[in-house]
């Protein structure tokens, strides 16, 4: 039934704007496809994200497009957000989503996931958390980690821009040591929180640190993380999506910044638990990866 | 003149079973046809630290809740309530009403001359007795002290029958009740001690019954009159 919520009744097709008809006819819903959805379809198909008000050239906006293109089954996926720049995109995602409060995203997602499992025992509904580094690692750290400890079957994606961007550029726990931001006028005094490692030791079966520079790599990680969360347990993705505004780059320089990160501070890190490893092999065999 | 309702305060030490006793007292009174309410003191009680519970019994609906400030009956479960001031209320008889009753579990008289005068002026009768020793004699364990105290209470009241008390005790130990972790542990210790639940209940009943008789006899001796109206039909 989930895909039916996008089907426009014939009586109203003539009055509906194109973007809505497109969503029904031209988006890559998993149910309509044999092959896994992916980044390659972005140019030809209707995207799940409509126009939003992030800064021009924001790497977060681009990375969200990759994430949405890679959801294994968007029509059965709920995304939980938190306060921050990302929340300016959320109303425009063509899925059921929740904003809630600043920092409580993994708690809300835990409740949603458990109830969806209870209400739909015969369906597979994915719950994904997508929030910034302030929400995930500072104000919401307790709820992030506790959801890992409890082995909640959700995927947590942190768009790590190393700063509180929406509030105007303040230091976060994910800011690099020495960086001067507001509230750290003489530079940050402690190291960047190694959240991907905390995720591993806190029980995540899949934990990745990467940048948003390579769309395919992002899509692959998203897909693997969600599949592992379905069957095995919590998964975590830390994706560097720099705030070009706060580090003084122009709209076309975000990609270069991420590429530089790939070689240095955001060198690819991946932890996969043995159970997850085995499960992913199985997925590959079955062609769902 | 007998009253339409009375309030009972039970200062004790954590682990003595005063909360359980108040619970059973109210259940027994309810069985007898009274309105009855029981509650513990609302604190972070620990074993051997002060602990207090309350029961209210009447022939009219009982609205009053919480700590009993003006009791008709005060039951002291442990000498340390008086000697070490392990009590929420000082002195232990604070607020006691005229013609009231104090029951003290102690092997010696703990009242000062001043205490005695205050209580005499209010015509409050005092029964001091070693109910712990009594429990050991009757049930073979000091854990039945609360049953002895309970029996003493009803012996003094005279209007709640032994079958109703029996009902109250059985209800408490046969049904599943919510209890704090400490109480639940003690429940299981008691159960282990008696091996069989019915054995435990019988010993408790016997202890309460013997204390009932003893106190009823004492009331006659000292001229303690009926305090609470008989329950309505």
């Amino acid at each position: 039934m989930a895909l039916d919520i996008y089907k426009v009744n014939p009586e109203f097709r003539d009055i509906m704007p194109k973007e809505i008809i497109d969503l029904e006819e031209n988006a890559t819903w998993a149910q309509n496809q044999e092959k896994p959805r992916g980044i390659k379809e972005l140019p030809e198909t209707k995207e799940l994200l409509e126009e939003h008000s992030l800064c021009a050239g924001c790497p977060e906006a681009a990375t969200l497009r990759y994430v949405l293109s890679a959801l294994p089954k968007p029509e059965e996926t709920v995304i939980v957000n938190s306060t921050g720049c990302t929340s300016l995109m959320f109303p425009h995602i063509a899925l059921h989503t929740v904003h809630s409060l600043f920092g409580n995203q993994n708690a809300v997602a835990s409740g949603i996931k458990r109830v969806l499992e209870w209400r739909f025992p015969d369906k597979q509904k994915d719950v994904v958390v997508l929030a910034g580094d302030g929400a995930t690692v500072d104000i919401g750290l307790d709820y992030t980690l506790q959801s890992f400890f409890r082995q909640e079957k959700i995927t947590t994606i942190c768009f790590d821009n190393e700063v509180y961007a929406n509030t105007g550029g303040q230091e976060s726990g994910m800011t690099a040591k020495g960086q001067v931001f507001k509230m750290a006028p003489t530079g940050k005094k402690f190291d960047k929180v190694p959240m991907w490692e905390l995720a591993k030791t806190s029980g995540c079966h899949y934990s990745v640190n990467m940048t948003g520079s390579a769309p395919k790599a992002v899509a692959k990680a998203v897909r693997e993380a969600i599949l592992v969360a379905r069957e095995i347990g919590p998964t975590y993705l830390n994706i560097y999506t720099p705030c070009i505004l706060e580090i003084g780059l122009s709209a076309n320089e975000g990609l270069g910044e991420m590429k530089a990160g790939d070689k240095h501070r955001f060198e690819f890190y991946k932890h996969v638990s043995p159970e997850a490893e085995e499960y992913l092999k199985k997925c590959k065999k079955e062609g769902i990866l | 003149m007998a009253k339409d309702s009375i309030k009972i305060r039970m200062p004790a030490l954590g682990g003595q079973g005063a909360v359980t006793a108040a619970h059973i007292a109210a259940t027994a009174a309810d069985t007898e046809g009274y309105y009855a309410v029981s509650n513990p003191f609302f604190g972070a009680e620990k074993r051997m630290a002060p602990s207090e519970s309350y029961a209210r019994i009447g022939t009219v609906p009982i609205y009053d809740r919480g700590e009993v400030i003006y009791p008709d009956i005060v039951m002291i479960y442990h000498p340390q309530v008086i000697t070490m001031g392990k009590s929420y209320t000082m002195p232990f008889y604070a607020g006691i009403k005229e013609n009231g009753l104090v029951i003290i579990n102690s092997d010696k008289d703990l009242l000062t001359a001043e205490d005695r005068k205050t209580l005499d002026d209010l015509n409050v009768k005092v029964l001091t007795r070693d109910f712990t020793q009594f429990a050991i004699e009757q049930a073979g364990t000091e854990l039945a002290t609360n049953m002895a105290m309970l029996g003493a209470l009803f012996g003094a009241l005279g209007t709640v029958s032994k079958p109703a008390i029996e009902e109250g005790i059985k209800d408490r130990f046969l049904k599943k009740y919510t209890a704090s972790g400490g109480t639940a542990t003690l429940d299981s210790v008691i159960e282990k001690k008696f091996k069989k639940k019915m054995d435990l209940i019988q010993k408790n009943l016997d202890t309460a019954s013997a204390a009932f008789d003893l106190t009823a006899e004492w009331c006659k001796e000292v001229g303690f009159e009926q305090m609470l109206e008989a329950p309505g039909k």
Binding site: M1, D4, I5, Y6, K7, V8, N9, P10, E11, F12, I15, M16, P17, I20, E50, E51, H52, S53, P91, H92 | -
Partner: protein, 189 residues
């Protein structure tokens, strides 16, 4: 554009603060009066047939074919539009749209007044809109426009509309069509 001034920035007073709430089961609400459903249906039809640019705003619950009732309702609503000679402008989702809506072709609950102003709509039916967003929109509309609003609701109705019908399912919509046809004939249209 309707009158606007400091008092109109807030949609206060809402109907509940004037003492009006949703009608009891089996009844309808016309302004502050609880009336029989048929009385309200007649009045709704009359207003729609006699007001400038009467428009129906179908919401997501009827726009999409997510269950059998929605599919049947879609057919009936189309017929209502034909009988009432009303235009249809969809409220297809509730997002605060960026950068702006096109008031010719859509209505958005966050600023429904824009569509009403732009199209000079003097009477409108909200149908299939989730109650919360219907109420958010109706409160704005009642304070910022002079549009006569009608809420045809599958649940408990909407006191912030000028007229509301509650528990409206396919049977009730069919009955409304019949009544609208009668009223239309009476009006000599």
């Amino acid at each position: 554009m309707a009158n606007q001034g400091p008092a109109y920035y807030s949609p206060y007073p809402t109907a509940t603060y004037e003492g009006n709430i949703t009608p009891p089961e089996g009844k309808a609400l016309l302004l502050e009066d609880v009336v029989d459903e048929e009385v309200a249906m007649r009045e709704c039809a009359r207003v729609m047939l006699t007001s400038e640019n009467a428009t129906i705003f179908p919401g997501p619950q009827v726009l999409y074919g997510w269950n059998e009732e929605a599919k049947k309702k879609a057919t009936l609503i189309k017929e209502i539009a034909e009988v009432l000679e009303a235009k249809m402008i969809p409220m297809y989702d509730y997002r605060p749209k960026y950068p702006k809506i096109d008031p010719e072709v859509e209505i958005n609950p966050n600023h429904p007044n824009l569509t009403i102003w732009h199209n000079n709509i003097k009477a409108a039916i909200f149908v299939g809109v989730h109650c919360h967003y219907a109420n958010v929109a109706l409160k704005i509309v009642r304070s910022e426009t002079d549009c006569y609003t009608i809420a045809i609701c599958g649940l408990s109705g909407h006191e912030d509309a000028m007229a509301t019908l509650r528990d409206q399912h396919t049977e009730e919509l069919a009955r409304f069509i019949e009544i609208a046809k009668e009223v239309k004939a009476e009006l000599g249209k």
